[in-house]
């Protein structure tokens, strides 16, 4: 009205564009923080790094109120059903950031109880490398999520229906190779794991 002359009389756009524009600037993260990455996540939300500049500062601890799950830290096999339940409880549309080396690949924790990447069990949109990642890297991930929403989002979230197949690593069958299924380390005296170890001729140690 008052700015008649500056703007054209009407604009033509797509509803998808408008929905994406509003959604991407109003992300509500669900902080699924299980380890030290959670500390960086808190730093990202605090005033120095200030994730609020990108419209995603409204962290809620109920999955019902969130649309961006940030898995920050290692996930053990006892936590996988909890993580999946929280993911299923979040309303659509929703996205997931796998923050840090442990959540993305297991990191250094290649042990019997640690999941080697959460993308084997829930869909992940953006991975953040680092151990732990700097807050700037998490902000970069949020910006990537925003770009992904703007490019692929639809107002009725129909783009998710196309993602009906498994998106994780394909190496599930290569879980334990025969040479990796190691058992007791042979040499307790030097604490090494030599495979061609001759034990029989060693003098027996006296039992303490």
């Amino acid at each position: 009205m008052a700015i008649t002359g500056l703007l054209p009389d009407f604009l033509v756009t797509k509803l998808d564009y408008l929905a994406n524009l509003t959604r991407k600037h109003s992300l509500w993260p669900m902080p699924f923080a299980t380890a030290c990455c959670g500390i960086e996540l808190m730093a990202t939300a605090s005033s120095r790094y200030d994730i609020a500049r990108f419209g995603s500062e409204a962290m809620r601890f109920s999955p019902r109120q969130c649309d961006l799950m940030i898995v920050a830290g290692r996930v053990v096999m006892k936590m996988v059903p909890v993580m999946q339940r929280i993911w299923l409880q979040m309303p659509e549309p929703k996205w997931c950031i796998s923050m840090g080396a442990c959540a993305s690949s297991g990191g250094v924790f290649d042990a019997y109880a640690t999941v080697q990447g959460i993308d084997r069990f829930i869909p992940v949109d953006v991975y953040v490398p680092g151990c732990p990642p700097r807050p700037e890297q998490l902000i970069r991930a949020v910006l990537d999520i925003q770009e992904k929403i703007q490019r692929t989002g639809t107002i009725d979230a129909r783009e998710f229906a196309a993602r009906s197949s498994y998106e994780g690593p394909t190496s599930l069958a290569r879980e334990i190779g025969p040479e990796e299924a190691i058992v007791a380390p042979g040499d307790f005296t030097t604490a090494t794991r030599l495979r061609s170890l001759k034990m029989t001729n060693d003098p027996p140690m006296t039992r303490q």
Partner: protein
């Protein structure tokens, strides 16, 4: 020779051996004697020798250990709260059914400690009021700290359903 060792020798002759490491005395009970002797020995240490505090219960797997005679060791770390003296009781158990008497009748604090040893090594404790897994999920079937268990497990860590984006 400490006075409590005289008491133990008089009460349980031939049931244990001792050794010392950096000033800490160890009382070692072999697997063939442990089920009958261990609880009485711990009770004697607690009630007659003043070792009234159970610091820790830990498990060890001596598979392929040079010179080891028995497989599973369970270490009870006892402290005398009056003198500050310590003694370590190491009892052994063997396959196929490693079982030791529970120390819960003596120390209530042994409850979770023995559950952890059971969870990690599969050593059962006879007389334990609630012998369940404490760290691993209850559907876990292996004992992960045994030396013949692979470091990366037997695939339990990935035995979960996958949720795809379309169905969530």
């Amino acid at each position: 020779m400490a006075a409590y060792l005289d008491t133990l020798t008089a009460r349980f002759p031939g049931a244990f051996t001792t050794s010392e490491f950096r000033g800490d005395r160890r009382v070692i009970v072999a697997a063939d004697k442990a089920p009958a002797v261990l609880l009485g020995l711990l009770r004697c240490l607690k009630e007659e020798c003043g070792f009234d505090f159970l610091c820790d219960v830990a498990g060890v797997d001596y598979l392929n250990y040079p010179g080891a005679a028995d497989r599973y060791g369970v270490v009870y770390a006892l402290t005398n709260t009056t003198t500050g003296g310590r003694v370590f009781v190491k009892a052994f158990a063997n396959d196929p059914d490693p079982v030791l008497p529970s120390a819960v009748p003596l120390w209530q604090g042994a409850d979770w400690l023995e559950r952890e040893v059971y969870d990690m090594y599969g050593v059962r404790f006879d007389g334990h009021p609630d012998l369940r897994r404490i760290l691993m999920p209850s559907e876990f079937t292996a004992y992960p700290l045994r030396k013949d268990y692979p470091l990366r497990g037997l695939g339990e860590r990935h035995n979960f359903p996958t949720i795809t984006r379309a169905e969530s």
